[in-house]
Amino acid sequence: MADRLEPLLSPEELFDYRQCSEGGVPFWLPYSQGDVFEQVVMPGIENDEPGLAMLFMHPCTMREGARLREAVTAVRVTFNDSRVLPKPGTWANRNKLMPLPDLFGNGESTYVADFMLLGTVQSASLDRARRVSQLSAEGRLILQQRLIFHLTRHAPSVDVLQEASHSLELELQAQTDWMEEANKRGLIGSSEDVDEQEVVFDEYMSAPMDSTGSEAEARPESRRTLLAHPREAPMVVRDVQRKIKTL
């Protein structure tokens, strides 16, 4: 059991995608906990001025089917320092926030997601084209650990958090592969196309596993259900990879 927070990761490990990184933040990336968007109005916070906000809801609950819920929780992201502050010691005893060193990938600043500025926003205000960053899988675990510690003063091990969220992470990666391939094949030209592909993906994951075109036995459970079972998960990963090739 961890009795203290994990050291903060370097920006390169903390983020998978940032605006200034090579290729920016692809607009077809699935929404994920920890995504930061700009131009977001958070009612009741900072006089309703638009600003940076982090999608905060747990991945289990942020969706209704393939889509984000109409209203989701977000955390205001604020400027903290004009330097990049990735050193673990910098953040000792600063437990009410999630540090976001070099959020924009230009090596110039540190922002923080402030857990004290939490609110509900319309998911429509989280515009894919205005996404600033997406955390890495490790970054999301750090975020979850800091959040739990903020609320309870207990810091669960990131390994335990990783085990508990493994199937969600697998589905997120499968969806990203799906969207990437759809984009490569010219199936995505607009935000509506992304929405449509997300619905197709959701339907595929919600459907029972069949044996068509795969070595796997037909199963009555949905792919999503099987993904939650460690012994079955690789079979689903393989199945999705095969399906992606046929998009």
Binding site: M1, V160, E163, P234, Q241
Partner: protein, 224 residues
């Protein structure tokens, strides 16, 4: 009066030397201890244990070497293929999550996605990915039904450490030893991550809650 087994042991007469000299020594001791069956049996057992330990050590080293060579053979073959094919094998054949590949090889998930699409990985990264893929192949060859699951199973109850945590360049053969039950989990942990008892101890476990979703609970309390 013939020496007792304890007296012989305390003199450590037969705790050193090669097997040949041990055998000669044993012959001498048999002469010395004729009529003292306990002492004779003790000498013979000690000698056999020494020989077995030495033989086990040699066998283990040879066995490990054979695993390392097998991985190298597979890796060389994989390095002749485009990197996209190697990555395809990891995902579509072995069903490994990109995040696990990234952790085990020490690169980012976006880098894997980029290399899968357009290549461009440095030679050392290509080498590490080929070795990881070879590791999965060998796991299957030695009888691990689902290697991608196996790497995520905790090695010892009460600790979060899994083979995925232990994998690094040079550790694959030891992990194959673990997979084949040729070595105990504690032995491989002591070898590959000596501070595992402090680094990975946990009082919590993940169970399936009543709503069907995973839940973190304190150990021994279960989910009931």
């Amino acid at each position: 009066m013939a020496a007792t087994a304890h007296e012989l042991a305390s003199k450590k007469i037969f705790l050193s030397g090669s097997s040949t000299s041990s055998e000669s020594l044993a012959d001498l001791l048999i002469t010395f201890t004729q009529g003292t069956s306990d002492a004779l049996i003790d000498v013979q057992w000690r000698q056999k244990r020494q020989l077995n330990r030495a033989q086990a050590s040699t066998l283990r080293a040879d066995h490990r070497k054979s695993f390392t060579e097998s991985i190298e053979v597979h890796a060389r073959e994989l390095l002749r293929q485009p990197l996209s094919t190697v990555l395809e094998e990891l995902a579509a054949t072995w069903g490994v999550a990109w995040a696990d590949v990234a952790r085990m090889v020490g690169v980012s998930v976006p880098a894997l996605r980029k290399w899968r699409t357009s290549g461009g990985a440095a030679a050392d990264n290509m080498r590490r990915l080929a070795e990881l893929t070879a590791f999965f192949r060998l796991l299957k060859e030695v009888g691990v039904e689902e290697p991608a699951s196996w790497i995520s199973i905790p090695c010892v109850s009460g600790y979060t450490v899994t083979p995925r945590h232990l994998y690094k360049p040079g550790s694959a053969a030891a992990l194959i030893d673990l997979a084949t039950a040729s070595i105990s989990p504690e032995e491989v942990l002591n070898e590959l991550h000596p501070s595992w008892k402090t680094d990975f101890a946990t009082d919590f476990e993940v169970v399936v809650a009543e709503d069907g979703a995973p839940a973190i609970v304190a150990k021994n309390l279960g989910n009931g």
